[in-house]
Structures are given as C-alpha cells and as structure tokens.
C-alpha cells in the first residue's frame, strides 16, 4: 500500500511523541517533469528511517542526509535538486526536472 500524505503526517506526530528526533521534508516547488507533486512529504527520524517520498527515489538519500543535520541543529533548510545542479549536488533527477524541498524539524 502506498503511504498517503495523511499517513506520513500521522507518522511524523507518532514518531515525535515516541521521543524520536523528526524532520519533515516537503516539495515546495517543481519545474519540468518532476516526479512528485508540490506538497509531497517525506518524514525522517534521527536514525535515518523514513516514510513517504519527495522524488520517487532519485534524491531521497541526499534529503535524508540533510534532514539528519536539521534534526540536530533545528534550523530549517531549503534544498534544490535538478540536472542543472549536478556539479553542486550529489544527487540529480534523471527525469530532467528540478525540485525545491523545504526541510524542517518537528519539535
């Protein structure tokens, strides 16, 4: 079963209640053929466990790495991924689109 956005936000709340460090990543802007629509969420805990998707798998690894820093520091981050930024970022989108992802700590 696919995780709907409601499952993801419910998981974020449950994980936080369970005392885990939690970050929420949200696709806030897309250009071209981005794999996941604006508003898609990925929730990440302090062990790197995650639920949901912001790109269908292309850049999740990089988002998770940044999310761990955000959980630690508490300062939100704005990430941008796309083929045009291959030199600046570890990950790129094979579909040729570009996305911006907002990562914030829960709590």
């Amino acid at each position: 079963m696919l995780s709907s956005d409601s499952d993801i936000l419910a998981a974020a709340e449950a994980w936080r209640r369970a005392g885990r460090g939690v970050a929420l990543a949200t696709v806030i802007e897309t250009w071209g053929s981005a794999p996941r629509p604006v508003g898609s969420h990925l929730v990440i805990d302090d062990m790197g466990r995650f639920l949901g998707s912001v790109s269908g798998g292309c850049v999740e690894g990089a988002v998770i790495a940044d999310a761990l820093d955000v959980i630690e520091a508490g300062t939100p981050r704005l990430l941008e991924f796309g083929v045009a930024d291959e030199t600046a970022w570890r990950a790129g989108l094979s579909c040729g689109g570009r996305i911006r992802v907002f990562v914030e700590r829960v709590g």
Partner: protein, 230 residues
C-alpha cells in the same frame, strides 16, 4: 514545525476540516489557518484561492515567500449498489487511497462474502447517509450503479445537494434522460442535474465490470485533479 501545530493539522484532517498551514520558508515561521478563519485572514484572497484549488503552493506575499500546505479532507467514495462492478471497484479504490463505502438495501447483494473487508452497508442510501455512513460533503464522490431508480435517485439527489465533487450514474443515454425527468419532478434544478456524469465513466470502451470500474475511477481522478472551473 511545533508539535502542537502538527497535532492540530492531523486533528483537522481526522475531523474532515479543511485548513492551510502557512510557512515562511526564509525562517520556518508557521501558522495554521482553519478554513472558517480564511475570510478574516490578512492573506484572505491568496488563502481562499489555495483552498478552492485544494493544492499546496508556493506564493509570494508582502515580499516574503510563503508555502501554503493546503489540507483538504481525504476523498471518500460512496458506491450505491453492491453489484458486480462494485466488487471490482472496491479493491481498485483502495489501491488509490480512496476510502470506499458500498451501500445497497438488498441484502442478497450487500453480503460480506461478496465484499470481504469492505465498509458495506445493507440499507437504503437515504437512511444510511448521515447516520451509519457520514453525511456526504464536497470531498465525496458518489457513483450510483444499481440501475434501480428507487435506490439510485435519492442518493443522487443527496449527492447533488451536498455538492459532491463527483456524481456519476450508470445507465444509457435513454435511461439517463428518464432519470433527469424524474429528478426534475423531484425538485432538482437543471444546473444541479447537469453535474451528473452519465453514462458513467471515461469513454475507454470498457466492456467488463473491472474495465467499467477502471473507467469510473479514472473519471473520479479527473474530476478531482482537473476540476472544471466553477
């Protein structure tokens, strides 16, 4: 995000209340605006537009970039008729994350053996809706597929009255013409009945019950994701 903001967002979703989370992406500042508070909000026009579209979006206001997480209630599908098409429709709807309820007063049709694990209600639609089944609202799709006016018509009237985003009815053009006449006699306006999609389902040449179910679901997704301008 503050834990209480997340909890409020989830609570609104659970209660089928629409809300918008406004996030200033420069500093992460957030506030949650309930649907009923949109009109009085300083960003009223922006928020109202976002709420009507049902889609989250990045907007600019007062020189700041704001992300609007638009949360509208999860879509429900109410199927009138525990018929063969419904048996195919129910598992497909589940795969699309559509919470489906099947209503049919005929207990021979509405038997749990025919619909394992499904929310099945063996009652008349006008009795079940608003009681055993939560009342219809604009975040509901209704598909009337019994072929029996006694069962379908009251449900269609209820769906049109509630402003369901999708109202479909099974039957040929001839059957539908007779249906429109009956609904007009029952007091529904032409503007209301014009919203009924009939013959039901996208025209993909569907022949089997499963194919008709697919055509219905495709039409529901289209109504949801590409709504006709009001």
């Amino acid at each position: 995000m503050r834990p209480e903001t997340l909890a409020a967002l989830n609570a609104a979703r659970a209660d089928r209340r629409a809300a918008i989370l406004v996030t200033d992406i420069a500093d992460g500042e957030q506030r949650l605006v309930a649907a009923e508070a949109v009109e009085a909000d300083p960003l009223a026009p922006l928020l109202a537009r976002a709420l009507a579209s049902g889609r989250s979006a990045l907007v600019e206001a007062e020189g700041r970039q704001l992300f609007l997480t638009v949360q509208v209630p999860p879509v429900r599908l109410v199927v009138i008729g525990a018929v063969h098409i419904a048996q195919a429709l129910a598992p497909m709807a589940a795969a699309l994350d559509l919470a489906a309820t099947v209503i049919d007063p005929r207990t021979a049709f509405a038997s749990p053996e025919r619909f394992p694990g499904l929310d099945l209600v063996a009652d008349w639609p006008d009795r079940a809706l608003g009681a055993r089944v939560p009342a219809l609202d604009r975040y509901c799709a209704l598909a009337a597929i019994t072929h029996d006016p006694k069962i379908d018509d009251p449900a269609l009237a209820a769906a049109l009255g509630a402003g369901c985003f999708y109202v479909g009815a099974l039957g040929s053009r001839k059957t539908h013409a007779a249906r429109l006449a009956r609904l007009a006699a029952a007091g529904l306006t032409e503007a209301q009945t014009a919203r009924i999609r009939a013959p039901i389902g996208l025209d993909i040449g569907a022949a089997t019950p499963a194919e008709i179910a697919l055509a219905i679901l495709a039409e529901i997704v289209q109504a949801l994701r590409r709504p006709e301008p009001a």
